[in-house]
C-alpha cells in the first residue's frame, strides 16, 4: 500500500454529463497529456481503482450505479468531480432530472471546474488526488492498519 502514490489506478465514469469532460479525461490518457508519466493507469474495474473520476451532475437513474461503483472501491479512495456539472450541476442545474453535483451522492474530495474541464486542470486534480490518497492511507495506518 505504501507505493499507492507511485501508481494510482483510475476509474472513470460518466455520471450524466454531455461527454465533453469525458473525452477530455480520455485525452489526458493519450500521448499529448499522458498521465501515465505519473504512474496513473486507467482501469475498468472498480475493485482495482484508487481514484474515481466522475463527470456530470448525476441523474436519478445513474445514482445507484455511482453509489455501487464507489462502494466497490477499496479504501483508501479519492473522488474527483470533473467539470462544472459534477461540481454543482452547471448548465443543467435546473433540469428536472439532475441531482446537481456529485457531492449530493458521494463525498467528493477534489473539484475540477471548467466546461469542459481542460486536460491540464484534470491532471492537476489527479495529482492532488494522489497526495490526498497518501494522506488517507497514513491516517488509516495510524488508526490501526488498513484492514478496513
Amino acid at each position: 500500500m505504501a507505493k499507492v502514490a507511485k501508481s494510482p489506478w483510475l476509474l472513470h465514469y460518466d455520471g450524466s454529463s454531455c461527454n465533453g469532460c469525458d473525452i477530455e479525461v480520455l485525452a489526458c490518457l493519450t500521448p499529448v497529456y499522458d498521465v501515465e508519466r505519473f504512474g496513473v493507469i486507467n482501469t475498468g474495474n472498480p475493485k482495482h481503482a484508487d481514484i474515481l473520476l466522475i463527470t456530470g451532475g448525476i441523474n436519478s437513474q445513474n445514482k445507484p450505479v455511482v453509489e455501487q461503483l464507489y462502494s466497490q472501491m477499496p479504501s483508501p479512495k479519492v473522488v474527483v468531480a470533473v467539470g462544472i456539472c459534477a461540481c454543482n450541476g452547471g448548465v443543467f442545474k435546473e433540469c428536472y432530472n439532475i441531482l446537481g453535483g456529485v457531492d449530493k451522492v458521494l463525498p467528493v474530495d477534489i473539484y475540477v471546474p471548467g466546461c469542459a474541464a481542460r486536460p491540464n486542470a484534470i491532471i492537476d486534480g489527479v495529482v492532488k488526488a494522489v497526495a490526498l490518497l497518501e494522506e488517507k492511507r497514513a491516517k488509516m495506518d495510524s488508526e490501526g492498519g488498513n484492514n478496513k
Partner: protein
C-alpha cells in the same frame, strides 16, 4: 439447443466512455438477442428551453453532446433563423462550414481511436488521438475552446478567422493529410485489423432502410444519402461526392468514415478558397413567433432540429432528433448472431453518442 444465459453489458464498461446498458441473451458464445436500457445520461435538456431565453439556449443545446457540440448549436440557430426568415452573411455561413468540417475530422479521428482500442490495438488508438489533438489546437486558436466553443449566435457567428489563420489551417491540414494516409492505411490494409472487421456486423441495404440507419452506418450499407447535399450553411457552393461502400460490414463503416476525413479536409480547402469578405453576423430584433425545422449532417448522421416560438423570449418547444437514437435498432440487429467477444466492437461501429441520444 443449448441453454440461454443473460449477460449484462454496462452501464459501466471499460470500452464505453458513456453508460448504456444491454442485456445480452446468449446461447453459448453467440448472442441471440440484445435488450437495451437507456436513460443514464438523460438530463431533460429540451425542457430547459422554458427557463432560458432563446439566445441563451444556444449555450444549453451546445451541451447536448461534447463531440458534435458545434453542430448542435449550428442546427438550433439555423432553425431559429428560419423562423425570423433571416439571411445571415455569407462569411458566417462559410465559417460555420469550416468549423463543422473540422468537428467531423476530430469526431472521426476520435472514433477511429476508440475502434482501435476496441479491437485491442493500443498504439493505433494513441496515434489517432495524437492527430486529433492537432485539430483541437486549431479549435482552441480560432475559438478559445477545445471541445465546446460556443461561437454560434442567432444571426451569424461570434468570432472571425483572419485570412492568415485560415491559410495556416489549410497548411496544417495538408501536412496532416500525409500522416493520416499512413495512419488510416493501417485500418484498411493491416491483416489482423481486417480479420476483426471484415464480415463482422453485417447490415444489408434493405435492413438499413427498414431499421432507419443514419449517417456513415447507412452509407456503409450502400445508401447514398447525405444531408449536406440539401445545401445548408455554405454546402451548396461546395463540390463533394457522397462516400458509400457496398460491403455492409464493420470494415465498410470504417472505410466510409476514413473517406469522410479526407473529404472534410477537401471541403475545408474549398471553403477557404471561396470564403467571401463580409460581416460575420447581423442583428436580429424581436422574439421568434412560429415554427421551423433544420436538418444537419453530423459526424454520426442526420440530426433534425425543431423549434417553436410563441412571440415571447422563451421558446415553447425545442426538439432534437439525434442520429445515434435511430442507429440503436440497426446496432441491435448487428448484435444478433455475433460472438460475445465482438459485442464491444459492434457497439462501437455505430459510433454511439449516448449523451446525444438521451439529452
Amino acid at each position: 439447443m443449448s441453454t440461454r444465459t443473460i449477460v449484462p453489458f454496462g452501464p459501466q464498461h471499460p470500452v464505453l466512455p458513456e453508460p448504456i446498458h444491454l442485456d445480452l441473451v446468449l446461447e453459448d458464445e453467440k448472442v441471440v438477442d440484445a435488450v437495451p436500457k437507456i436513460g443514464y445520461i438523460h438530463r431533460g435538456l429540451e425542457k430547459l428551453v422554458e427557463k432560458r431565453d432563446f439566445n441563451d439556449y444556444v449555450y444549453v443545446i451546445e451541451r447536448t453532446c461534447g463531440i458534435c457540440s458545434f453542430m448542435h448549436g449550428m442546427g438550433y440557430v439555423e432553425a431559429v433563423e428560419r423562423i425570423f426568415d433571416a439571411e445571415i452573411p455569407d462569411r458566417a455561413k462559410y465559417l460555420r462550414t469550416i468549423w463543422a468540417e473540422m468537428s467531423r475530422i476530430h469526431s472521426h479521428l476520435l472514433w477511429l481511436g476508440l475502434l482501435a482500442d476496441g479491437f485491442g490495438f493500443e498504439a493505433l488508438f494513441y496515434q489517432c488521438w495524437r492527430m486529433r489533438e492537432r485539430v483541437l489546437d486549431m479549435f482552441e486558436e480560432s475559438t478559445g475552446g477545445r471541445v465546446i466553443f460556443s461561437v454560434n449566435k442567432i444571426g451569424g457567428v461570434l468570432k472571425d478567422m483572419p485570412a492568415d489563420m485560415l491559410a495556416r489551417f489549410v497548411n496544417n491540414f495538408n501536412e496532416m493529410e500525409k500522416e493520416l494516409r499512413e495512419l488510416t492505411n493501417v485500418f484498411l490494409t493491416d491483416f489482423s485489423v481486417e480479420t476483426r472487421l471484415r464480415g463482422v456486423g453485417i447490415l444489408t441495404r434493405d435492413e438499413a432502410i427498414d431499421l432507419g440507419a443514419a449517417g456513415p452506418m447507412m452509407r456503409a450499407s450502400d445508401i447514398a444519402i447525405d444531408t449536406r447535399k440539401l445545401g445548408y450553411a455554405a454546402y451548396e457552393d461546395i463540390d463533394f461526392d457522397i462516400i458509400t461502400s457496398k460491403d455492409c460490414d464493420s470494415y465498410a463503416r470504417c472505410e466510409v468514415r476514413i473517406g469522410e476525413i479526407f473529404q472534410s479536409i477537401d471541403i475545408i480547402r474549398q471553403a477557404v478558397s471561396k470564403i467571401p469578405d463580409t460581416e460575420i453576423s447581423i442583428q436580429i430584433k424581436g422574439n421568434p413567433n412560429g415554427e421551423a425545422f433544420a436538418r444537419m449532417e453530423q459526424p454520426r448522421g442526420e440530426a433534425i432540429y425543431y423549434v417553436r416560438g410563441n412571440g415571447t423570449k422563451f421558446l415553447e418547444r425545442a426538439r432534437v432528433r439525434t442520429p445515434t437514437f435511430t442507429n440503436l435498432t440497426p446496432m441491435l440487429k448487428t448484435l444478433k448472431g455475433a460472438d460475445l467477444a465482438d459485442v464491444p466492437l459492434l457497439v462501437l461501429t455505430i459510433d454511439p453518442c449516448i449523451s446525444c441520444t438521451e439529452r
